[in-house]
C-alpha cells in the first residue's frame, strides 16, 4: 500500500512541475560550421523562454540541411554557402519559400600539426595541387607539392561532401564546387578533423575558424597567399574584415522557412538571433557583420522579402561590403 501511495505522490509531483501543455519545437539543421552559433543562440533562447519553446540543432551539413529544409522537415537551415540552384528548384517544387539571412563571416582555416616545422604559408596553387581530383593517388607526399618539403606522406583532412565548407573550399581552390580528390578523411563533423590534424605530424586540413580558435595551441594555421606575389595572410577576424584574407573568407547564413516564420515562437527566435546573435557569434569565433547588416536582415524578415540575392551559383570571395550592397538592393 505504501508503494502505491508513494507512486501517486511522485506522479503528482511530476505533474506539478510539468508545463501545462506540450512545448513547441523549432527544428534547425544544416552546416556544422554555423552549428556553434546556432547552438549558442538556441541555448540562450531556450533559457529566456523558460522551457516553453524547444530548439533542436542538427549537423547534417549544408547540403544535408537544405535537403531536409526543402522537404519541409526543418524550420531553419544553417548554411556556410548560399543556396544553390538545385536546392532553389527543390524548394520551389515543394512550395517552400525562405528568407535568406546572412549572420556572420568565417575565415576558412588551413591548418597543420604544430609538429610540422616545414610550412607556415601556402599558396592557392599549392592547395590546388594537393586537393584537385587528379591529385588522388598521384600527389601523396609533401615533396611532390614543393620539392623543398620533406618526403613524408600527406595525411589530408577535409569536410565531407554534404558540407558547405566542402563546396566552398573546392570552388575557391580547385575552381569547381565538389571537385576534389577522394582519398582524404572527410567528415561533416569538424571535431573529427580537428582531432585528426592535432594528432598527426604529416596532417593538413581545412576547417572553419570557430573550430580552429579554441585549439590554437594544438594546431598551426597557415598563411594563405591569395594571388602570386602577395604576402601570406593568416586567418583572423581583422583580416576578414579588411578583405585581405582571400579567397577563404566566406559569409555564413541562416535560411528561415516562410511557413515556419508565421509562428510567433519562430519570429521571436529570429529576432533574438539578430539582436543577441552578434555577441554570441564573436564569442564563438566568427566575425559578426556590421550592425547595418543585421538591421537590413531584420527589415527583410519583417517585410517578408523572400528569396536569395545570390544567383544560386557558387561564388567565391564576396567581401563584407559587397554582401551588404546586395542585401540592401
Amino acid at each position: 500500500m505504501t508503494s502505491i501511495r508513494t507512486f501517486v505522490a511522485l506522479a503528482l509531483a511530476i505533474a506539478a512541475s510539468a508545463p501545462a501543455r506540450a512545448a513547441e519545437t523549432i527544428a534547425i539543421d544544416g552546416s556544422s560550421t554555423v552549428y556553434p552559433v546556432a547552438e549558442a543562440v538556441a541555448e540562450e533562447f531556450q533559457g529566456q523562454e523558460k522551457g516553453q519553446v524547444r530548439v533542436t540543432v542538427g549537423i547534417s551539413g549544408t547540403g544535408g540541411g537544405f535537403k531536409k529544409f526543402c522537404r519541409g522537415e526543418t524550420d531553419i537551415s544553417d548554411a556556410s554557402r548560399p543556396i544553390l540552384k538545385e536546392e532553389i528548384d527543390a524548394c520551389k517544387a515543394a512550395g517552400i519559400s525562405y528568407y535568406e539571412l546572412p549572420v556572420a563571416y568565417d575565415a576558412l582555416t588551413v591548418a597543420v600539426s604544430p609538429k610540422n616545422d616545414w610550412v607556415s604559408e601556402i599558396t592557392v596553387e599549392d592547395l590546388k595541387k594537393i586537393w584537385a581530383p587528379e591529385a588522388q593517388g598521384t600527389v601523396t607526399r609533401w615533396n611532390q607539392v614543393r620539392p623543398e618539403w620533406p618526403d613524408q606522406p600527406l595525411m589530408l583532412f577535409g569536410a565531407g561532401s554534404d558540407s558547405g565548407t566542402f563546396d566552398y573550399f573546392t570552388e575557391a581552390i580547385v575552381g569547381k564546387a565538389k571537385a576534389s580528390r577522394g582519398d582524404f578523411t572527410g567528415s561533416e563533423d569538424d571535431n573529427v578533423l580537428v582531432q585528426g590534424i592535432e594528432n598527426n605530424k604529416n596532417a593538413l586540413g581545412y576547417i572553419p575558424y570557430a573550430y580552429y580558435l579554441p585549439h590554437k595551441e594544438r594546431m598551426k594555421a597557415l598563411a594563405i597567399v591569395g594571388k602570386p606575389g602577395e604576402k601570406g595572410v593568416l586567418p583572423s577576424m581583422e583580416a576578414v574584415k579588411s578583405g585581405a584574407y582571400q579567397p577563404l573568407s566566406r559569409p555564413l547564413f541562416v535560411y528561415v522557412s516562410a511557413k515556419s516564420a508565421e509562428r510567433p515562437a519562430v519570429q521571436r527566435f529570429v529576432e533574438f538571433f539578430l539582436t543577441e546573435g552578434p555577441a554570441l557569434i564573436e564569442e564563438v569565433g566568427y566575425l559578426p557583420l556590421p550592425a547595418e547588416a543585421y538591421e537590413t536582415a531584420r527589415k527583410r524578415f519583417r517585410d517578408k522579402k523572400a528569396g536569395t540575392v545570390f544567383g544560386g551559383v557558387p561564388e567565391v570571395g564576396v567581401a563584407v561590403e559587397e554582401l551588404l550592397k546586395r542585401e540592401t538592393q
Binding site: P19, R21, A40, E43, I59, N191, V194
Partner: protein, 311 residues
C-alpha cells in the same frame, strides 16, 4: 625368463619428469598472467575513466542540459531519455519475449514451425546491433512512418534484446520441475491456468534476471539509435507523461525527439578539448555505474533465488 624390455633409463625418466613439471608450472604462470592481463586492462579502463571523469561529476551535472560551455554541460536530457527509451523497450520486449518463450517451452509441438522459430531466435542473437538500426530506419521510420522518436527508439532496442529475454525465460521455465505441472493437472487445471498460476510465478526470478540483463545491454547501445536519428543537441526533456490538466496522462513523450546517455557520451568524445572529454568520461562513468548496478542486481537476484527455491 628372458628380459624382453630394456632396463629403463632412470636418469632420462627423471629429467623428462622434471622438464614436464617445469613446463606445467610455466604454463600455469603464463595462464595466470593472461588472466591478470585482461583484468588489468579492465582496471586501467576504470581508473582512466575515473581520473578523467570524477572531477566533472557534480550534482548539477545530472540536472543540467548539454551546453556549448563544458562547465555548464550536463546529462539531464540524456539520462531522462535513456529512462524513457528503456521504459518502452521493457514494455515491448517483456510481454513479447515471455509469451514467445512460454509458447516454445510449454506448447510448441515438434514441427518445422517451432524449429524455424528457434533458429530465428538464435540468429537474431548474432545479428550486429547496427543492422537493427537499419531495420528500424528502413521499416519503422519509413514504411510504418513512426518517426524518429522515443517510441521508435524503444522498439528498436526491444527487437535487439528480445532473444536475451526469450532465452532467459526459457531457462527459467525449464527449471520448474514437471511435478508442479502434474499436480496442477491432477487437480483439473487447464494448461494456461497451470502456467499462469504455477509455472510463471516460480520462474519469475529467472525472468527478472534475464530482463535486467537485457536492459543493461540496451542501455549501452549507441549505433542503432544513431541510425534512426537520435539527435545530438537536445536541451529539453521529452514531454512529461503526467500532466497537470485533463486527462492527466499523456503519451506525447513517445513522439518526442530524444537523446540517450551513450549518444551524449559519443557527442562529447568527438569534441576535441580536455573539458568536453572530461565530461565524456563522467558520462561514461555514470553509464558504467548504471550498467554495473543492473548487472549486480541480476547477479544478486540469481543468488537469492537459488537459495530460496527448494524443490
Amino acid at each position: 625368463m628372458a628380459r624382453s624390455v630394456a632396463a629403463p633409463d632412470l636418469e632420462a625418466l627423471r629429467r623428462g619428469i622434471r622438464r614436464r613439471r617445469l613446463g606445467d608450472r610455466l604454463f600455469a604462470l603464463f595462464g595466470w598472467a593472461c588472466m591478470t592481463a585482461a583484468l588489468l586492462v579492465l582496471a586501467a579502463l576504470l581508473v582512466d575513466l575515473a581520473i578523467d571523469g570524477l572531477p566533472h561529476l557534480r550534482w548539477d551535472f545530472f540536472t543540467s542540459f548539454p551546453s556549448r560551455k563544458p562547465e555548464r554541460a550536463g546529462i539531464l536530457s540524456a539520462w531522462v531519455g535513456s529512462l524513457a527509451v528503456m521504459g518502452v523497450t521493457a514494455a515491448a520486449a517483456i510481454p513479447l519475449g515471455v509469451a514467445a518463450a512460454v509458447y516454445l517451452e510449454e506448447y510448441g509441438p515438434k514441427n518445422w514451425i517451432t524449429d524455424a522459430i528457434e533458429i530465428s531466435v538464435t540468429n537474431l542473437a548474432g545479428v550486429p546491433s547496427i543492422v537493427f538500426g537499419l531495420l528500424a530506419l528502413g521499416f519503422l521510420v519509413y514504411v510504418l512512418d513512426l518517426g524518429r522518436n522515443v517510441l521508435t527508439g524503444g522498439l528498436t532496442l526491444a527487437m535487439l534484446v528480445l532473444p536475451i529475454v526469450i532465452v532467459a525465460t526459457r531457462e527459467a521455465v525449464r527449471a520448474v520441475p514437471f511435478g508442479i505441472r502434474e499436480a496442477a493437472f491432477a487437480l483439473g487445471a487447464t494448461k494456461w491456468q497451470t502456467i499462469w498460476h504455477h509455472v510463471l510465478p516460480y520462474s519469475m526470478g529467472g525472468i527478472a534476471t534475464g530482463v535486467i540483463i537485457a536492459l543493461a545491454r540496451a542501455i549501452g547501445e549507441t549505433a542503432p539509435l544513431i541510425t534512426i536519428g537520435a539527435l545530438t543537441y537536445i536541451a529539453f526533456l521529452p514531454t512529461s507523461p503526467v500532466q497537470a490538466e485533463w486527462p492527466f496522462l499523456s503519451f506525447q513523450w513517445l513522439d518526442d525527439p530524444f537523446t540517450v546517455m551513450p549518444i551524449q557520451t559519443f557527442n562529447w568524445i568527438s569534441r576535441p578539448g580536455d573539458d568536453f572529454q572530461g565530461n565524456a568520461a563522467a558520462a561514461g562513468l555514470v553509464l558504467m555505474g548504471m550498467t554495473l548496478v543492473m548487472n549486480g542486481a541480476a547477479i544478486w537476484l540469481r543468488y537469492r533465488l537459488r537459495k530460496r527455491v527448494r524443490w
